[in-house]
């Protein structure tokens, strides 16, 4: 399926002193799980807010199901976006929030919501105001899952959830997604935890999309080569280096390229060790590469410093 259901064109969101979104172009297809990854303040929530018409772009266009979501009931009724800092009516208990969601989502599954509440050990008759951070997150997660909206956003849904609850969320998400395919956008900075769920990865940094690729294409798109510093450097001469670490005379260098089988064989002959780069490593390295002055120049600069340091 390649029906585009979300399309952002030249989105710019300008706050007083920063560009929260800096010319974002994005196109998302139906029935996939997307990861929207990036650091805190990178623009993840802003982007999701604008797509769902909860906030307004300074300029540019955001289309969901082919139209702007703003005041558009036909589009809005197919979207669910519970934000990380979601507010609830003062007297509401989780059960009230669930019954509210049931009024607005035609695919709402109350039995599923009840089961999830039990899984998360959520006290559904306690005032939401009195819930812990993790329980508050659970309320949002349950609404997001049980609403079965065609386009569901999860905004850092794991805040305050313990490891067991997080795993539960990931498991339930995958199970339910298999039975009821829909488009899910999972914003996260715990990348390793969600890496296996994602079919497509969008990385945003300082308001710009710095990576937009299929998870399958990303796996193996970068590799870390380690061995004696001189051999490694000679082997990787002229390649796109993302990161370099040295320990004594040993170096471990991450390149933003995949190696062919001939190159892999060559590396083995040279006694170099090849290891895969996790999605989290890749995102961190790419984001950090952007923080430095930019481009290949700074990479070689780091390279020289590291080399000097290693030789001392």
């Amino acid at each position: 399926m390649n029906d585009t259901i979300v399309e952002a064109r030249n989105l710019i969101k300008h706050y007083k002193d920063l560009n929260a979104l800096d010319n974002v172009n994005l196109s998302l297809s139906a029935n996939r799980i997307y990861g929207l990854l990036g650091r805190n303040g990178a623009g993840k929530t802003t982007l999701m807010s604008i797509l769902t018409a909860q906030a307004f772009a300074t300029s540019g266009e955001a289309l969901v199901f082919g139209a702007s979501a703003y005041e558009n009931e036909a589009v809005l009724s197919r979207i669910c976006f519970i934000r990380e800092s979601q507010k609830y009516p003062d007297d509401f208990q989780p059960q009230h929030a669930f019954r509210s969601a049931a009024l607005f989502y035609k695919n709402w599954d109350q039995a599923f919501a009840d089961r999830l509440a039990e899984d998360f050990q959520l006290p559904i008759k306690r005032r939401i105001k009195k819930l812990s951070r993790g329980q508050l997150s659970a309320v949002g997660v349950i609404i997001g899952l049980a609403s079965r909206a065609e386009l569901t956003f999860f905004d850092e849904p794991y805040l305050g959830l313990d490891a067991v609850a997080r795993q539960l969320f990931y498991d339930r998400l995958v199970e339910d997604y298999a039975e009821h395919p829909r488009t899910i956008i999972l914003s996260s900075h715990l990348i390793d935890e969600v890496a296996n769920l994602l079919e497509h990865v969008v990385v945003i940094d300082r308001g710009r999309i710095i990576m937009d690729a299929d998870a399958d294409d990303i796996r193996g798109s970068a590799v870390t080569v380690s061995g004696s510093a001189e051999t490694v450097d000679a082997f990787l001469l002229g390649r796109k280096i993302l990161h370099r670490e040295t320990l004594g005379s040993l170096a471990s260098v991450t390149v933003d390229e995949s190696l062919g089988s001939r190159e892999r064989a060559e590396a083995q002959e040279l006694g170099l060790e090849l290891s895969p780069v996790s999605l989290q490593q890749l995102v961190v390295r790419k984001t950090m590469a952007g923080v430095g002055s930019t481009g290949v120049g700074s990479d070689t600069g780091d390279f020289a410093d590291d080399t000097l340091e290693a030789r001392r």
Partner: protein, 228 residues
Amino acid sequence: MSRTVAVARMQLINKWTYIGWPLTILAASFLMSLAIFALIPVQEGKYGGGSQAPMWYFLVLGIQSMTLVFPFSQGLSISRKAFYLGTLGLFSLIALGMTGLYLLGGVIERATTGWGVYGYFFNIPWVTDGPWYSTAAFFFVVMMFMFIIGFWFATIFKRWGTSGTLVSTLGTSVALIGLAALTTLLGWWGYVGSWFAQQSPLSISGWAALLCVLLAAGSYATLRRATP
């Protein structure tokens, strides 16, 4: 349309917010007033202002529907228009029900000569002196006014933050003081006084209703661009 109705139903899921608390506040205020009336050993009409107690709660409701219910409605992808119409519609119904209760209370009160203790809670001099529909209009409009003013201030706050609220509050005060100063300068207080003397509860309700409509329209214009 159905989503507008759903917005109203959503806010009735917890019956306390819109029904339980107003009735509790009214009952508590009524019983306390009655106890005080009974303690005053006077055999003539005693009037208290206790029946205004729920009005202040309506002000709070107006504020909270903007600061808390609106963000929640956004999370459920409810359009701003559906939220606005559903919330205002719900409140109109509540105000209508409360007005009915006040009228009924007033009738019983008169029939029992102030609950047997000459205490008047629902009857207020001047306000309830006219025909029943004038009394009804007055109560209804006052309740709507309290809710809408709370809602309006909260929309200003949501949209423009503390500074916006401050500017609009100060601005309103300055404008009112300016009007008063102008009236003094021109020596018009006499006219103002006689204008007020000519007003009936019904005409005051009319003016207040006009103000409600203006504030409600202003709130909607602001809400259209508000973010949760």
